[in-house]
């Protein structure tokens, strides 16, 4: 994956990145996955599966992942978006934007 490439999972964007020096490692030991884009309507969040070799970091409300092994981005219930495999690497997660014609402002896409 190159720096100018992106993986799209619903409104969630996944880029190649690097972990900022000040980023803090997230404590994820007891979790099966990390929510990378929450869903307010259904609870059908976009998540990345945790396994040995997958670590998450947080800095200024942005999530980063370093995975030494393949993992997947998927929805909790896979009826809205099929899963995508994420090869070993360092990734950053973001959200697509949409425009509100009434307020004339850009905002994160919400689902």
């Amino acid at each position: 994956m190159n720096n100018d490439e992106v993986i799209i999972h619903g409104e969630c964007m996944v880029f190649k990145s690097s972990i900022p020096q000040k980023a803090k490692k997230m404590k994820t030991a007891a979790q099966p996955y990390v929510i990378v884009a929450p869903s307010e309507t259904t609870g059908n969040h976009h998540v990345v599966d945790l396994k040995p070799g997958v670590a998450f970091y947080e800095y200024e409300d942005v999530l980063y992942m370093e995975n030494e092994v393949e993992t997947t981005i998927r929805c909790v219930v896979a009826d809205r978006h099929d899963e995508i495999t994420l090869s070993p690497g360092v990734y950053e997660f973001g959200s697509q934007q949409e425009y509100d014609p009434f307020t004339a402002r850009l905002q994160k896409v919400r689902d």
Binding site: V6, I7, I8, R80, Q97, D100, P101, D111
Partner: protein
């Protein structure tokens, strides 16, 4: 014994057990109070406590409404939490060994799912919700009803769903031909908007606009995912008073096949501008999309 792979017979058993558990989870049969009270009393006994007084309510909402000190950290889910019990129960069925005590406890919790909906236990009293009177799903098993609440209780409380998306009553009860486009324009949630587009009809909606740009103008080898998502830019200014130009991106969900129509700012004059804006101002090449 470590089980690496299911036998054909076990796969069939799993299929049947899954179906059985799904039926329990979706059951709208009235609760047998005598059996329900026996199960809960058993849990109290395990804690050396006397059986509580049982009080029944028509819905979980009615329980929460009855006492402001009750919250959602205080309940057990009965049939709606059958998933974790089913996992351990099936493991036991195919040979995973539990201690006698754990096995007995698992049976009790499996029965709890079989015979109860939500229940809120306290020292002297236990509030029990009756099951819903309606729970309907679509072919994919997601909550769905095109006329009524997809889940409804005897007191009328419930929720409207279309294809697993919780939507306002208006979107369900209003016939397609009577839907007002203002609902779409004001709705903030992408999934609810997509359900509106599905019901309203994407062609009917775009009849009110004018195509500005299309994936067909871009080479498939350079923009394969624009072609897969069938990206188009449409000017929908006609829907807004006082606006000369208001672009929307039309695209198809790769998994469900449903259409999304989402606004971008008037500075977007073509698809390149629009996709760049959606990606936070970064010009990026899509390498996978679902």
């Amino acid at each position: 014994m470590k089980i690496e792979k299911l036998t054909k017979k076990q796969e069939k058993e799993l299929e049947a057990f899954y179906k059985e558990c799904l039926e329990i989870g979706r059951s709208c049969e009235p609760i047998n109070h005598e059996i329900a009270e026996g199960i809960i009393s058993g849990f109290y006994k395990r804690l050396d406590m006397q059986a509580p007084k049982f009080v029944y309510f028509p819905s979980p909402h009615a329980i929460l409404k009855s006492d402001s000190s009750i919250d959602l950290n205080m309940y057990f889910g009965g049939q709606q939490w059958i998933h974790w019990k089913a996992l351990y129960k099936f493991a036991e069925r195919i040979g995973v060994e539990f201690s006698k005590e754990d096995s007995q406890l698992l049976d009790e919790w499996f029965n709890e799912s079989k015979h109860l909906h939500w229940w809120f236990p306290f020292t002297d009293v236990c509030y029990i919700s009756e099951r819903p009177i309606r729970l309907t799903v679509n072919e994919a098993g997601a909550l769905h009803n095109e006329k009524f609440k997809a889940i409804e209780y005897a007191d009328g409380w419930g929720m409207y769903y279309l294809n697993g998306i919780k939507v306002p009553e208006y979107l369900v009860v209003t016939p397609s031909e009577d839907l007002n486009i203002d609902f779409f324009l004001k709705e903030k949630n992408a999934d609810v908007k997509a359900e509106f587009v599905r019901k309203f009809g994407v062609e009917r909606m775009l009849d009110m606009g004018k195509k500005v740009d299309t994936y067909e103008k871009y080479k498939q080898k350079d923009y394969p995912y624009w072609h897969e998502s069938q990206y188009e830019l449409w000017d929908m200014a006609k829907l807004f008073e006082g606006l000369d130009y208001q672009p929307y991106v039309k695209m198809v969900n790769q998994t469900t096949g449903i259409w999304h129509v989402e606004a971008v700012s008037p500075s977007c004059r073509n698809l390149k501008d629009a996709i760049k804006e959606r990606f936070g101002g970064k010009e990026m090449k899509i390498i996978a999309i679902k």
